[in-house]
Amino acid sequence: MKKRRGDFLFWLGVGYLVLLVIFAVTMPWARHHYLEAKGQPNIGPNAVYWLGTDEQGRDIVARLAYGALISLQVGFTVQILSLAIGILVGVLGVFAPRWIGVPLMRLTDGMFAFPDILLAILIIGVWSTGLFPVIVALAITAWPSVARLVFTQVASLKDREFFIASKALGARTPYLVFWHILPHLWGVLMAVSMIELAGTILAESALSFLGIGVQAPTPSWGSMINNARSDMNSNPLNLLWPCLILSLTIFALNFVGDGVRAMLDPKSRSDR
């Protein structure tokens, strides 16, 4: 019975994410002419502006959708970058000569210890605000956790029979890594990426909320929350929508990540 509940949440999360992607891809295109200030400010939901307009008379649906696009863009780019760096560093940590591997893993540990998004704030602080710096800063903050995971996984795979057998047959290290190591990692990395993706989207929104992320007029969920705070007394709904869509996205990603992990590891499923 418990198992079914986990599966239900997993599929609920998958369903929500599919809808979100469709929303993020179609809506900015379908309603792009609503993105600039057009209507009366702060009108309620109606036939033209489905969720009403914000304090500058811009369509909230269009802004939410564009914000979703930004979030997904930042999330996926950062995940791809951090996976690439993390896998590279993790594999090098095991297979490279000690004078490369050991310092690399110490660097990873050091960066991992750096609290949360503090490093991203520092990078943005001395570089610049905007979409590109945010992506780079978050990727630099995100890779150490991937690298540590890859390092421990690779270190244990290296001692398995199939690996030793292939090595004994004369396979070279690059071949071994691509054919005998990486294929085993995809599942674990998928599960971790889903949860990390939630963290990245959250971090992007937090930076935008602080006013040092994606800059106006580009909408982001974080900056929409921040803008809506100023007159939430008269327009609480304007605050509700971005909060809702952000929270739901985070929940969905966590459910999906947990689901993937449970599928990979039958033991954790029975424990829950």
């Binding site: 210890a113 704030i121 006013g211 939430m232 605050l239 952000l246």
Partner: protein
């Protein structure tokens, strides 16, 4: 002897991490456009004047020398002057913010640790009953819902609708500080609290299955005494370590909370400095936050042997 060796090892780890953070912040200034000389010379200065000033300020020396100097100054909390405004010394700005941030953060960690351990223990003792499920659901929410969503929502409910708490921090406060700090502290505490709750629960559940607890039950130890004296004393060690790590969440969380409630703390100074591209202030705030994080974790590590005789006596 063993213990002393270990303390020294931990201390040296702490020093190395601090040096790493200081190096990152130093490099940050190196790659940032403009330096103290360009700022001090002003916008209309000629290139050769800036160059002369740079030489006088010693900014033309090779970077390893300047890094050593940077660390030496940083130890004395001397980060030069702010690039903007009244060119105040950076140390004055950050010390002002630091006292406020530490006040909020320490209240939050007290709340998080106290409630987290209490709720986690209750959940573990009532395992799989209603109280357990309620606590687990709430802590999942606490970990997942971002604090910058929670802050405006709680302000809307408690300040605007119910009108029982002030909306933001104010310079002229009419009520005791407690009322102004209540919402920020609760919001800041929520995420570490949820983490500590889950950890305490897992740890207590684990400990309760051990033999010495069964022996204590068989002996007829009263339930409260059992939980506090026998179980918690053993179960709390990983929780104490986690209090140290959750301090990192508090630091970044305070950036959010200070913006949401207009509290003049370290985080708000940092964000303002970033928006004004005031590099010395950014460096100082990040360095200080990182140093605080490392020091707190170091303290926790050093505290552990005091709590656990096993670590004190036998460890490598």
């Amino acid at each position: 002897m063993q213990l002393l060796k270990q303390i020294l090892l931990r201390l040296s780890f702490g020093v190395v991490s601090l040096l790493f953070i200081s190096f990152v912040t130093f490099v940050a200034d190196e790659v940032a456009p403009g330096d103290a000389a360009t700022i001090q010379a002003g916008e209309k200065a000629r290139a050769e004047d800036v160059e002369a000033l740079r030489r006088r300020m010693g900014l033309d020396r090779p970077w390893p020398i300047r890094y050593v100097e940077f660390v030496g100054n940083a130890v004395r909390l001397d980060f030069g002057n702010s690039y903007t405004g009244a060119r105040e010394p950076v140390s004055k700005i950050i010390l002002r913010g630091l006292s406020m941030t530490l006040r909020v953060a320490s209240l939050a960690i007290l709340l998080a640790a106290g409630l987290g351990i209490l709720l986690g223990t209750i959940a573990a003792v009532r395992q799989n009953r209603f109280a357990d499920r309620a606590v687990l659901t709430l802590s999942t929410l606490g970990v997942t819902v971002p604090n910058f969503v929670l802050a405006p929502v709680l302000v809307y409910i408690f300040a605007l609708q119910l009108d029982v708490l002030p909306q933001t921090w104010e310079v002229n406060r009419v009520a005791p500080d407690f009322y102004y700090l209540l919402l920020p502290v609760v919001i800041l505490a929520l995420r570490p609290m949820a983490m500590l709750t889950r950890l305490t629960r897992a740890s207590v559940v684990d400990t309760m299955q051990q033999e010495f607890v069964r022996l204590a039950v068989a002996k007829g130890v009263p339930p409260l005494r059992l939980v506090f004296k026998h179980v918690l004393r053993n179960a709390l060690l990983p929780v104490v370590t986690a209090i140290g790590t959750s301090f990192g969440f508090l630091l970044t969380g305070s950036f959010i909370v200070e913006r949401a409630f207009v509290i003049p703390g370290l985080g708000r100074e940092a964000i303002e400095a970033i928006q004004k591209r005031d590099t010395p202030v950014i460096q100082a705030t990040v360095l200080l936050a990182g140093a605080l994080f490392i020091l707190v974790n170091l303290l926790v590590d050093l505290l552990l042997p005091l709590l656990d005789p096993r670590i004190r006596e036998a460890q490598v």
